[in-house]
Subunit: 119 residues, 2 copies
Amino acid sequence: MNVVNLQQKFSLFSDHWHPRIIGELNGQLVKIAKIQGEFIWHSHANEDELFMVIEGQMWIDFRDKTVALNPGELIVVPGGVEHRPRTEGEVKIMLFEPASTLHTGEVEHELTKNDQKLI
Amino acid sequence: MNVVNLQQKFSLFSDHWHPRIIGELNGQLVKIAKIQGEFIWHSHANEDELFMVIEGQMWIDFRDKTVALNPGELIVVPGGVEHRPRTEGEVKIMLFEPASTLHTGEVEHELTKNDQKLI
């Protein structure tokens, strides 16, 4: 039962679009990621996903709108909703999702990462 | 599916030890609270609880140790573990926990709040 410092955890890696697990509770995982550029369109059939921006600005494209997220802002993307995260510079985000969630959703892609251990 | 700004949500209330719901996903709730002073000792039998500090500094007493949490830091308190949140000044925190969690845990107390709607 340890205190997790987000910036210390971000300092442990530098690659983009590769979420790391920093906590788990009730079958859910808390993850962080550095992201930059445009991700792929995807959805998670039955799993809601929370995005929170820690540093930088990101956009999430939906099929019918785009939202901007700044530090201290979050959004819950319901299961089944197609979305595409996108940034200009590097952005630090926190994610909250079920342990079963693959970040590329239904899409098997070279970007797919599936770490199962805490950093 | 809206963007939630934490500071805007914090501006909607001023009472202490009264968590408000700002999001829900996969049967879990995202809550925020303003806290000040000492809460009661309590535990949640089967529910893990995440505390993250947004502003200020808090301590969480456990029976065998005390941890300090600063902005950008979080901790997961496993189900069954007795804990007591404590601050000096006002502190803004974010919580993740199952929808079934009462913040005073097994203890029925005048501080017990049980809001079930999003603000």
